[in-house]
């Protein structure tokens, strides 16, 4: 086996094999597991970096498959497939993952179960690395499930909090709904390609358009669940009950990007019909999350809704159907988002650390003075999130908006409005956190975090600012060309101005409404009360899923089934049992002991037998 293949396996294999040791070493000394965990992911990052610059930049695709079930005549391949797309994802996942784990070393150092936490974080990152390097849909699904499992464990890490336990359950079940679509998609792909589609490169052997549409829509169903798109986005805001670093990992490097990666990986089978679905699911998600983000007060939930919206841009970019260009646009947004979203979550985590985990932004304020480095970093994060010219988010998001103009003006308008909403809620959050006077005792006594938490923040802030210069090279790289090392950005047109104007308008509005004391928010709220309530209740989607489907529908059906089970089925069995017992009681009475009665019964029996015989002969049964 070639060295490159072994090394590629090691990228995810090392942390995968290492994670039990991370937990195990914690029983010797808790802190060792923090160091071992960070080291494992760092080594993965180094290997990825090495492979990237030795092989991938030269256009070498590392691939290797073996048969999972050797004795089956059918071949179920597992293995690795590392092309440009996979490697750029692996690079991002291991890098951002490492920074987040490094931050966790400072963030979780008081937790008594931190060895378990680091073990799970390592497993989470390695599963995601395995996911992006998989050579077959089956292997991709295996890691897909492991990613889901880790999110379940990590969201519920503080299991003694009822909310955390409940949020973990919700995340597991909601993503499971998506996962079963994925299973159906693999099943359909295998059937329609006569088994070829078991490897990611074999999807091209599906030829008929309707078959492609079915397979792609089913796979997209899986992506909706993992990438938290409408209508399965409901798990993500609740998942904020977990530790902030977990949220950072879920939102930036792993989990939500898995769905986008899946679509990009299987992009060849997306037909125009399914692409339209993809585009509008993305757009609906952007608008909904943008509106909800405006009325939420929990700092982490605002970030959660912003993730939903930004992933919506990635999905919408894929839905534009521009071939390899779409993949480039989407993955570039994915990576830029990974940097600034990790940055935002880590700064939020740093702030929460300082204000004793009070998550309500109404209870913060004036933190810019208290924690200058963190909040300045957050400022750049918010700028990047809104797409301020010059920062990463601008190049990634505005390119998508501009590209959509050629596809559909309607879509373009909605995407641009989404940009306005993004700037609005991002700076609503930022101004409420940073400006004004401290509005609670905790915010009064906030102070700057330790260096081990600041270093990852500063690195991520740097990337959020400068990532734009890679734009052109990135696009051509993801599209499958070897690296040209062309720094620089895609040429701008006048069309690019409109989103910028909208974004600045959003920022300005946010300043006027929330950056200083103002009555604008309450006026708007009172003016459009019905609409406000609709948004405040998250368009009743959560309520619908929880109260109608889960509690009334499933639990109700379950109660009915249980009643049916005990009364009808159980009753029927008991009735038939007692029927035989009672018939025994009745027939027992024939046993009178009177010879005359017995003789009579014998006579009746004889006559009946003769009549039956006669009937049978007449009917021809007996000859």
């Amino acid at each position: 086996m070639d060295l490159s293949i072994i090394l590629t396996f090691l990228i995810f294999g090392l942390p995968l094999i290492g994670f039990p040791f991370v937990i195990g070493i914690g029983y010797i000394k808790k802190n060792y597991s923090m160091y071992l965990g960070s080291a494992l992911i760092f080594i993965s990052f180094l290997i990825t970096l090495f492979l990237f610059f030795t092989y991938t930049v030269n256009g070498t695709v590392i691939q290797y498959s073996f048969n999972w079930l050797p004795s089956l005549p059918a071949i179920i391949p597992l293995g690795i497939y590392a092309d440009n797309l996979s490697m750029i994802m692996a690079l991002m996942v291991s890098f951002v993952g490492f920074l987040i784990i490094l931050f966790s070393v400072g963030y979780m150092k008081e937790d008594p179960n931190r060895h378990v936490f680091f073990g799970e974080m390592v497993l989470f990152t390695s599963s995601m690395l395995g996911l992006v390097l998989s050579s077959s849909l089956i292997m991709l699904f295996i890691f897909w499930e492991l990613v889901g499992l880790c999110s379940y464990l990590l969201i519920g890490f503080w299991y003694y909090k009822p909310n955390a336990a409940s949020a973990a359950k919700k995340a597991f079940i909601v993503t499971r709904v998506g996962d079963v679509f994925f299973i159906a998609g693999i099943g359909a792909a295998i059937l329609y390609s006569s088994g070829g589609a078991l490897s990611v490169t074999g999807l091209s052997s599906i030829h008929l358009v309707w078959q492609k549409t079915i397979v792609s829509l089913l796979l997209f169903g899986g992506a909706i669940g993992k990438s938290a798109q409408f209508p399965l986005h409901v798990w993500i805001p609740d998942a904020m009950e977990g530790a902030t670093t977990v949220s950072a990992l879920i939102h930036a490097a792993t989990m939500v990007t898995a769905g986008v990666y899946l679509i990009a990986r299987t992009y060849s089978i997306f037909t125009p019909t399914s692409l339209t679905v993809v585009l509008y699911v993305g757009i609906v998600t952007i608008i909904l999350s943008g509106l909800i983000g405006l009325v939420v007060n929990d700092i982490k939930r605002i970030l959660a809704y912003s993730t939903i919206g930004q992933v919506g841009y990635m999905v919408a970019a894929l839905g534009l159907g521009l071939g390899a260009t779409s993949i480039g646009l989407s993955i570039y947004q994915l990576e830029a988002h990974a940097f600034f979203k990790a940055l935002l979550f880590l700064t939020a985590g740093s702030i929460l650390h300082a204000v004793m985990n009070v998550r309500d932004i109404n209870k913060m304020g004036g933190l810019w003075k208290k924690m200058p480095i963190t909040v300045t970093a957050m400022f750049f994060g918010a700028l990047a999130l809104s797409g301020f010219p010059g920062l990463a988010g601008f190049f990634s998001k505005d390119s998508i908006i501009t590209a959509s103009y050629g596809v559909s003006i309607f879509a373009w308008a909605l995407l641009a409005i989404g940009g306005f909403l993004t700037a609005l809620y991002a700076f609503r959050m930022f101004f409420k956190v940073a400006l004004g006077k401290p509005r609670s005792n905790a915010a009064e006594h906030a102070h700057e975090s330790k260096w081990i938490m600041l270093i990852p923040i500063l690195v991520l802030a740097a990337f959020s600012i400068i990532f734009g210069i890679f734009q052109r090279g990135f696009y051509s790289f993801v599209e499958g060309n070897p690296v040209t090392l062309a720094f620089g950005i895609a040429p701008l047109t006048t069309l690019d101005l409109i989103p910028v104007v909208l974004m600045l308008a959003g920022m300005g509005t946010a300043y006027y409404a929330w950056g200083r004391s103002s009555t604008i928010p309450s006026t708007v709220t009172n003016g459009a009360k019905d609409f406000y309530l609709l948004v405040k209740n998250k368009f009743f989607i959560d309520v619908f899923f929880t109260n109608v489907i889960a509690e009334r529908g499933i639990i109700g059906l379950s109660a009915v089934s249980d009643g049916f089970e005990r009364r009808a089925i159980g009753g029927l069995v008991n009735v038939s049992g007692s029927l035989f017992q009672n018939s025994g009681k009745v027939l027992r009475k024939i046993q009178t002991g009177l010879a005359r009665q017995y003789a009579l019964i014998v006579l009746i029996g004889l006559i009946l037998a003769l009549i039956l015989l006669r009937i049978f002969i007449l009917a021809g049964v007996i000859h």
Binding site: I183, I554, G577
Partner: protein, 483 residues
Amino acid sequence: MTFQLSYLFLILTLVIVASIIARGKIARYLTVLFSALVFMFVVLNNMTLTNFDYGSLSILTLSFQLNFVSSVLLILISFIGVFVSLRYSSSPGFFVLLQFLLFSLIGIFTTRDFILFYIFWEMVLIPSFFAIGIWGGSNKNYAAMKFFIYTHVGSVFMLLAIFTMYFTEGASNFSMATLISGINAIPMAYQSFIIFGFLFAFLIKLPTIPLHSWLPDAYVEAPSEGTVFISALLSKMGAFGLLVIFSPIFMASSFAGSTAVPIALMALGVFSLIYSALVALYQKDLKRMMSYASIGHMSFITIAVGGFLYLNGSNPLASQLLYYGAVFQLISHGIIIAMVFALVDTLEKATGTRQIPSLGGLARKLPVLSFFILTAFLASVAIPGFSGFVGEISILLGSYAVLKYYLIFVLIGVVLTASYHVFALQRTIFGPYNEFLGDIKAKKEDLLVAILPLAIIFLLGIYPALLFHTFNIYLMPFLGGIH
């Protein structure tokens, strides 16, 4: 060298006799020996198809066969034998009954004669009946009688079907090979009855809803060690029947290629899956909940057999996935459910209850037990990395070729299955600690034994070839050249 089955039977009989005579703990140790012998038998016979012919005794043909399904099941038998005797220190009488049961099961899984098959089939009832009736819970008499009578009704129909085959074909013995190959020559009405008779018996044993009501009572009322072997092994009788007896009969009959029976089977399977999940969601007793989980797992086998018969060899890839998936599900379900019930017992011993509402936050006081329960439940949900995943994903992928859009119902079942597991986890091991439980401790030895099944399901989950390489080329000719 081959290890003759006759020797195995002889030695096992001696072991059973020794267990009866010996006193104290010896019966328990002999059960381990018993299991080791069975395992050795499978390994030494190279895990391929081996026939053992010992002539005939009057109308009985003493012909036996170790095929790939029975190899897998014999491995499961030896695992359960070892697991139960390591995990439970029951009375010597129990271990004698257990050995007797394992012996009968080996007979069922190897014999190629219908009368012997029936005899072994009925022999299984005796130890199970006594295990429930003697060591069971508060409602043991009711559960034992219900179990006995209910499954016996199924067997009667099977016996009638066997006799119908024998007399209408005018055969001279009860050899399976002869009777099955001659089935398509007899009138359709008789064929229908034969199909019905076998199906009825196997679906009760599996069990499939609505023929399942013996199961929750038997599982809940049986002592924990009884639940372990009943759930892990007795349901495999029905599955074995469907895979190795019923499928060839159906394929050989004039019904081969018709779709009514396969569709009915799949519908029953899907219904069982959803219904059992819905009922399980509402249970408060962990043991009862997991009894329904067991029904849900077995319904995958009904779906697989239905799909396999429906395809009738027309889509080799899907057929293979379905059949292999079903066989893999046999062993993986056996081990997972044994682990689950053993852990529920540990939990009950530690906390004094297995009612979900009385538990909560156990992860704080019993971290190791909680870890095992978590992994066992995740294995039961078929998370990758555990053996349950391999069987379930093979069946799901294969059944798309048959069910197409109707697969959605299976998938609903899968989501519901995940839901009640996770819901139960949330209320037992997660959440705030229920202070009413006081200071609790789990038995260390019990936790130590739980490593064994966990290791096996984990190994099989990441490297299924470990077992799958036993599944050899002999499957196809064995099923009568349907491919």
